[in-house]
């Protein structure tokens, strides 16, 4: 007997989570299955909608205004700008610790290399760091954390012409964390305000850290740290530091493993739980049965057994090349679960550009869909009438160049989840 639900979402990244959340809130009996850790841990935790046009114009001050002018094949055009706004409203409601909803304008948020990145939403922890805020800033890095070099980031921001004075200082993190401690180790220590040895006596870590930063502070109104300031109690950590420093405190988002990305993932799973959806992680969908043009069931591999999962409607949100929702070999690019069509040049030397940041065809690999996000075969016919796709498994857009990855995942996840729930009624 198969495990039944009305809507089954395959994939636990931003698109899958949004899709399941939308379907569950629309009243469908919803289940989400995901395999590996999602790519959110690689991401900065910034939720971008559109930073640059496909032609490279930008940074765009208003991402929503640019959507109607995107090419027809772009997923945003498939769902339309109104749906993008509705989807962002769902996100804002589900993840209350994010900011940016007060305006349509993008924020320029400093990231760990010292550039600014256009983004529509950002964690509260990054909000005091936005580059259009003209208060002077001190960036603080830690000797043993090579991912964030504060003086270099400050000089880089200065080179970008930010409207405030910015300085960087590198300090030693108080205590005796070993040199290659993970960022989560710092975060847990700060969460617990654990005792650390400083000059032969035990001190609470937040106070000891603030003391070292205070020695560097020269009247700046805000202080930026690498994104390690707590995991479960990030707001509490920032508040305590801000009180001790007499300055606003913000985090500079960084690459993997990214605490802001992990915090976002946790928040979305909490929202999904609250919406009454069920989810299970850690096992791959390896196969499916179809009858005519409908998916009848998929098979999840668990401890060597193939467990059937049946649903009325399915959402494919397995990710792109990074998440392995799109795979390739020397001859071919494919979608590995349902073998949905993925358009690509036969010659693999046409998949890339010679410049590292050139116009890469591979960045746009993914399935093409009809207006209802149902994947289409090579001849334009619908692959399966009850299968929709969302997020990076979709083709036709380069999320890295456009800075549109989160927004496309949220918008198409929302649209696919809603459409799937609608069909079950």
């Amino acid at each position: 007997m198969a495990i039944d639900s009305e809507v089954l979402v395959v994939g636990g990244g931003l698109a899958g989570l949004t899709s399941a959340l939308a379907a569950a809130r629309a009243g469908a009996d919803t289940r989400l299955v995901s395999y590996k850790q999602s790519t959110l841990r690689h991401a900065s935790g910034l939720v971008d909608v559109l930073g640059y046009t496909p032609d490279g114009d930008g940074p765009l001050a208003d991402p929503f205004a640019a959507i109607p002018d995107l090419p027809d094949s772009h997923p945003y055009r498939t769902v339309g700008v109104d749906t993008v706004r509705e989807a962002m409203a769902l996100f804002d409601d589900a993840v209350p610790h994010y900011r940016g909803a007060h305006t349509d304008a993008n924020a320029l948020v400093p990231t760990h290399g010292g550039t600014v990145k256009p983004t529509a939403r950002y964690p509260a922890g990054a909000s005091a760091g936005v580059a259009s805020d003209d208060r002077d800033a001190l960036l603080v890095g830690f000797e043993a954390l090579p991912d964030f070099d504060a003086p270099q980031a400050a000089a880089h921001l200065d080179a970008a012409g930010v409207p405030f004075d910015v300085r960087g200082a590198t300090i030693r993190f108080p205590g005796d964390l070993r040199t290659d401690a993970k960022v989560t180790r710092y975060a847990k220590l700060l969460d617990a305000d654990g005792a650390v040895p400083v000059d032969g006596r035990e001190r609470p870590v937040r106070e000891a850290l603030a003391e070292r930063v205070n020695a560097e502070l020269d009247g700046e109104a805000r202080v930026g740290f690498p994104a390690i300031l707590g995991d479960d109690d990030a707001a509490g950590v920032r508040e305590a530091l801000a009180d001790d420093l007499g300055a606003a405190v913000f985090e500079v988002p960084a690459g993997p493993p990214s605490l802001p990305g992990l915090r976002l993932e946790d928040a979305l799973f909490d929202a999904l739980d609250a919406a009454g959806a069920s989810f299970e992680t850690g096992n791959p969908v390896v196969d499916f049965d179809a009858d005519g043009g409908r998916v009848e069931r998929v098979f999840v591999e668990k401890n060597g057994a193939r467990i059937p999962y049946a649903a009325d409607q399915y959402v494919l949100a397995t990710g792109g090349l990074v998440g392995k929702g799109v795979e390739s070999d020397r001859e071919r690019v494919r979608e590995p679960i349902f073998d949905c069509h993925v358009a690509h040049a036969d010659d693999r030397y046409e998949w890339f550009d010679d410049d590292a940041f050139g116009d890469h065809a591979f960045a746009r690999f993914g399935v093409a869909t009809d207006d209802s996000l149902r994947p289409e075969a090579d001849d334009g016919s619908t692959e399966f009438e009850n299968l929709r796709a969302a997020g990076s498994v979709l083709g036709g857009y380069d999320f890295a160049a456009e800075k549109s990855g989160s927004g496309v995942s949220i918008a198409t996840g929302y649209a696919a989840g809603n459409a799937a729930a609608e069909e079950t009624r």
Partner: protein, 567 residues
């Protein structure tokens, strides 16, 4: 002798740096110039095989004898650059038995230790060898790190007073009264330590003798002096796998052909190669069929290669040379031996010699013969000591130590660092400051990178070849920005940013030939990290300035409470 004769050496590959070391040790005043980084040309683009001589034991026994002799020398003087992998010549059912016997006899004739193994014995050594490999000949092949070797030679030359100028292109050979009297070079970014973006300049380097060791570019230098050096550049591909499928050098035991060798190298295995003559050593097609042939043909020897992950491919250009009267049509027929051309005798142009041909394994012997020749020219009576004096890093040293206690490094990282640094480990790793890992794939710490930057200046590709940082699976995806950060402080932000860009582009170049499967997934991840998170493709610092006021200045709450309350 009054002041020592000044010798200008052109070329910072294994030959040029070997010549510089030898001459400096014999008391000459030496200046070495190289157009790119050390190893920029052929040396940095080879498979890393320290030949036993087995490959030449049938067709070119003179080369084979030189190889085994130098193989023994380098294990001694360059211990920290050599990994004693051993090598096998394996025979498949379709490969000729007659040739197998010739190979065995050739090894014996050339004094190369050789032992026949059954297929089972060979597979016991290398479990991933094909099941139908019938038998093999074991020889003392080894893996050598060409970067470490050349850097150590250059460092030794410097210790003996030589001046080493990288990123300095020879723009003219100065000829006065029918004699070469020096070279003119264009410094890409100022003389001395390489600094990205520093204004360069032209320098006339007067010399008592010029040694042209420019490898595939020797013909160009010859042209500048008005002499004909007919180098025949021949390209070959090398494809790098993400892991070591084999721990022994695997050669195909057949006369000649493409795709017949797998060399384990550090964390990777390198597949080689092709042999196609090209017109221009700096501009030739890098072709898909070459990569495909490596995988398809070498998987006949090691079947798992068919579906394994490759992380990049690169091409090298052999500086083949044969005397004008030989006239081989096929580049594979051209001898791998080396030639010393004395332009005084050959072209009535005193003041310059050219060394061409040869191979990395015999670089020291080539350098010795060049230095002998220069000594003879100047009546200098000094013995060659390069076969006896260990290179910096290869002095008496044990890598079997407790790095954890000594340097505070986790065991696998400490072991790898110390293997790379050899006897320099104490100098480099003994630091009071935190020494975090910067490149996780290759276990490279900050102290190693800082040491490399001190040697090579602000070129991150030069730091890369010294440390292997960014040369592992992720190809710089996770560490390129950290490496750039290591430059900052000593160098300003704009310099670090340019070096960062150059590193990203260089890493991309080789990955283009590995873009399918896992490595395409990695490439997309890297692109996302660099473009999405770091916005390096639209870096506002490189643009015309932004209208910051048009963007969100943050929620009002951020102005009053730092946005820290209420969530």
């Amino acid at each position: 002798m009054g002041s020592a004769p000044h010798i200008a050496v052109v070329g910072g590959g294994s030959t040029g740096s070997g010549v510089a070391r030898d001459l400096a040790m014999r008391g000459f005043d030496v200046t070495l110039v190289e157009q790119g980084n050390l190893t920029h040309g052929t040396t940095g683009r080879m498979h890393g095989l320290l030949h036993s001589g087995g490959r030449y034991a049938v067709a070119d026994q003179a080369s084979a004898r030189e190889c085994i002799e130098e193989n023994r020398v380098l294990r001694d003087i360059a211990a920290h650059c050599v990994e004693d992998t051993g090598g096998l010549f394996v025979k498949r059912p379709e490969d000729s038995e007659e040739y197998f016997q010739e190979k065995l006899a050739g090894c014996e004739a050339c004094d190369i230790p050789a032992k026949v193994l059954s297929g089972e014995e060979a597979r016991a050594m290398e479990p991933h060898l094909a099941g139908d490999v019938e038998k093999a000949i074991a020889v003392p092949d080894a893996a050598v790190d060409p970067f470490r070797l050349v850097v150590a030679n250059a460092a030794s030359a410097q210790e003996h007073g030589a001046r080493i100028e990288t990123h300095s292109t020879v723009t003219d050979v100065l000829v006065e009264d029918g004699e070469v009297v020096g070279i003119e070079v264009e410094h890409d970014s100022g003389p001395g330590k390489h600094v990205h973006g520093r204004e360069g300049g032209t320098e006339e380097i007067r010399a008592d003798h010029v040694v042209n060791a420019a490898g595939a570019w020797s013909g160009r230098i010859g042209d500048m002096a008005g002499v004909d050096v007919a180098v025949r550049p021949s390209k070959g591909v090398m494809t790098i796998m993400n892991v070591r499928q084999v721990d022994t050098v695997i050669n195909r035991c057949r006369p000649k052909g493409d795709a017949d060798i797998v060399v384990p190298h550090e964390t990777t295995a390198i597949l080689g190669t092709t042999d196609v003559e090209v017109d221009d050593p700096a501009d030739y097609p890098e072709e898909q069929w070459e990569v495909d042939e490596m995988i398809d043909t070498l998987s006949e020897l090691v079947p798992m290669l068919a579906d394994a992950r490759t992380i990049r491919s690169f091409w090298g250009v052999r500086p083949l040379y044969e005397p004008p009267d030989v006239g081989s049509d096929d580049p594979t027929d051209i001898t791998r031996d080396f030639f010393l051309l004395d332009h005084a005798d050959r072209d009535a142009l005193p003041g310059m010699s050219t060394v061409v041909g040869g191979k990395l394994t015999t670089y020291r012997m080539m350098a010795e013969s060049v230095a002998d020749h220069v000594c003879e020219r100047f009546g200098v009576d000094a013995d060659c000591r390069t076969a006896d004096v260990p290179l910096p890093g290869s002095e008496e040293f044990s890598v079997l130590r407790d790095y954890m206690d000594e340097f505070g490094l986790r065991s696998p990282i400490g072991r790898r660092s110390v293997e790379r640094l050899g006897s320099r480990a104490d100098d480099v790793l003994d630091t009071d400051d935190p020494n975090p890992v910067v490149c996780e794939c290759e276990g490279v710490t900050r102290a190693e990178l800082q040491d490399a930057i001190e040697q090579s200046g602000s070129d991150l590709n030069a730091a890369r070849i010294r440390t292997r940082a960014s040369m592992g699976n992720c190809q710089g995806g996770f560490c390129a920005h950290r490496m750039a950060s290591e430059l900052h402080g000593e160098y300003d932000e704009a310099t670090a940013r340019r070096a960062w860009d150059d590193l990203l582009q260089e890493r991309w170049k080789g990955q283009r030939h590995a873009l399918w499967g896992e490595q395409l997934s990695q490439a997309m991840l890297n692109y996302a990290l660099h473009a999405t998170t770091q916005n390096r493709d639209n870096d506002p610092a490189d643009g015309d300035g932004l209208d910051f006021a048009a963007f969100d200045a943050g929620p009002a709450a951020a102005r009053t409470d730092g946005g820290n309350r209420g969530d």
